[in-house]
Amino acid sequence: MAEIQLKNVSKRWGSFVGVDNFNLTIADREFLVLLGPSGCGKTTTMRMIAGLEDPSGGEIRIDGRVVNDLEPKDRDVAMVFQSYALYPNMNVYENIRFPLRVRGTDPSEHEARVMRASAMVELDDFLHRKPAELSGGQRQRVALARAIVREPNVFLMDEPLSNLDAKLRVSTRAQIKNLSHELSVTTIYVTHDQIEAMTLADRVVVMEKGIVQQVGSPTEIYDRPANTFVASFIGNPAMNLLEGEIRDGTFRCEATEIDGLDAPDGPVTLGFRAEDSEVSATDGQITAPIYTLELLGDATMVAVRLGGALVTAKTDKSFRARIGETISIRIPRDHCHLFDAHTGKRLGG
């Protein structure tokens, strides 16, 4: 049970700004994902909540209590590190038990609690192994068990899946989602992987250069990106962004003409997602020769080159064409996103 409040939290190293004026209230039992490219300040934000980094300004509250000056151990948080940070001299059982031991929990409870935590992450058979004798996925699960054994108020996870291979990442992701549902504890999860963010989060915070770009549910972030950074960061492939000009409701740029847009005249950036567009023979708004074709199995990605940028459209898996052939891409009007050409901010609703 914990609500976390961040008020104008900042972190500076000399003149370098790591996190700038972070304001957010994280509801009790919420699963919040901090998402952004490396160096955007997401990990720093989490480390400030954990108490491993002192904020240069602002206030952090856990359950209404200001924790700025509290040691990490007094904040009742548990953290899973990217490198797992297992204690190499202790076996799995001792690793999981460590938080109970140092906090002076009643020793008679230790075994039952360690067993329960290890069962939740399916580690029962490995309790007597040393971390060096475990695979990456197993180590990851030990780190998870060590975090849940104490039943803390807040879970902090710092890119817990980034050292796993792709297959294991999917299954561990599912496990984390299930665990968080079962334990229903406030969780803050840091990642640079937008799929993790989309699948796990109740709410996503997109950050760049220490500044919060957008806060919202995964659907909001995906469907209504607040600016061009969020638009290009979320989604695979990234949202197509075309720089052009609107005149009398019609957007124009190289080989492109989209009419019926409700926006004032002037330069804008227009964005649309590959899966919202259709490839047709002639009647689309973008007409250009095919630059490349990618067969994905369930679909085909067609890319054309406009100016310096690649514009990608998603089409049927049976679509066949040769590189260099001219095609037309149709974009439904209500799937067009308009952004200010200078600030990158979303225009209209």
């Binding site: 954990a50 108490g51 491993l52 040691e71 990490p72 151990k73 948080v77 548990a78 953290m79 590190f81 990217q82 490198s83 940070a85 204690y87 190499p88 001299n89 460590f98 938080p99 140092v102 906090r103 060590r146 104490r150 902090l156």
Partner: protein, 293 residues
């Protein structure tokens, strides 16, 4: 039929064995010679007439009726009370190792985890002091030690040896600590440790080989030191190395040189045992920095 390549490799192997064999004899010979000679009388081991006397023990047999004698050991240990020097050596070594390891582990840990820029300059200053010949420090110490009546006693020597030793232990432990990921401390702190508990429960157990290796090096420095101990200790408080030097300095009495030889063997034996006992930790400690853990 052996192929050319195999013949070549056989020749290479023989050459390797011969080389290692010769090297082993060359390296071990002084020790073996001293060990052998320590059971002879001076007229044999330092014979001017015929060096083979040292092998056959002609004079030893004439004097004691056997080709080997423990007279040198008896003289050194009983007559000259070499055990006092042994005891002093172990007192000095024990306190030097304990003090420099305590300061070294705490200081090395702090320096490796500190984000401040002055840590670099502290380490550079330590390195400079390490580069000084120990005797230069002693020269400066002598007068105040005489004036304050501190000269000649073991604690003074221990403090000076720690001072000489500390930069090295600090450097060595600092680099060991730097190889331990910071996340380990942080994880321990989030799990409920204070900084010191994290150090004690998590870092030190991981560091153990490094602590042992560093401890051994600082033990050897204290054990082998001549410059400081010979200048700062009075006759009754001498450690082994200056005591052996003193035996060698009294050659006018026949047999005293043999006390030195016997004492040398007595001083070397514990080192062999120590290194053999700790060899696994030393090797793992020395290579720990080479490969990422």
């Amino acid at each position: 039929m052996a192929s050319k390549a195999q013949q070549a490799s056989l020749r290479l192997r023989i050459a390797t064995y011969v080389f290692v064999g010769i090297w082993l004899i060359l390296a071990a010979f002084p020790f073996l010679w001293t060990l052998w000679g320590s059971f002879k009388v001076e007229l044999d081991f330092f014979s001017i007439a015929d060096w083979t006397n040292a092998l056959t023990g002609k004079n030893t047999e004439e004097t004691y009726g056997r080709p080997f004698t423990g007279a040198g050991y008896h003289g050194a240990w009983v007559q000259e009370e070499f055990w006092r020097a042994v005891l002093n050596t172990f007192i000095v070594c024990f306190f030097v190792v304990c003090t420099s390891l305590t300061i070294g582990t705490l200081g090395g840990y702090a320096l490796s985890r500190s984000g401040f820029r002055y840590t670099f300059w502290l380490l550079i200053a330590a390195l400079m002091f390490r580069a000084l010949p120990p005797i230069t420090l002693v020269a400066g110490y002598l007068l105040p030690f005489f004036e304050w009546n501190l000269w000649g006693i073991l604690p003074t020597t221990i403090i000076v040896l720690v001072a000489i030793n500390q930069p090295f232990t600090l450097w060595m432990l600092h680099s060991f600590f730097q190889n331990i990921p910071k996340e380990l401390d942080e994880s321990a702190k989030v799990d409920g440790c204070t900084q010191f508990q994290a150090f004690r429960h998590v870092i030190v157990p991981v560091m153990w080989p490094g602590v042992i290796t560093t401890g051994l090096f600082s033990f050897l420095l204290a054990y082998n030191d001549f410059a400081v101990t010979t200048m700062l200790l009075s006759e009754s408080n001498r450690t082994m190395v200056p005591e052996i030097a003193a035996f060698l300095g009294t050659t006018y009495t026949e047999g005293n040189v043999m006390f030195a030889v016997a004492a040398v063997v007595s001083a070397t034996a514990p080192l062999f045992i120590l290194v053999m006992f700790f060899q696994r930790q030393i090797v793992s400690g020395l290579t720990a920095g080479a490969v990422k853990g």
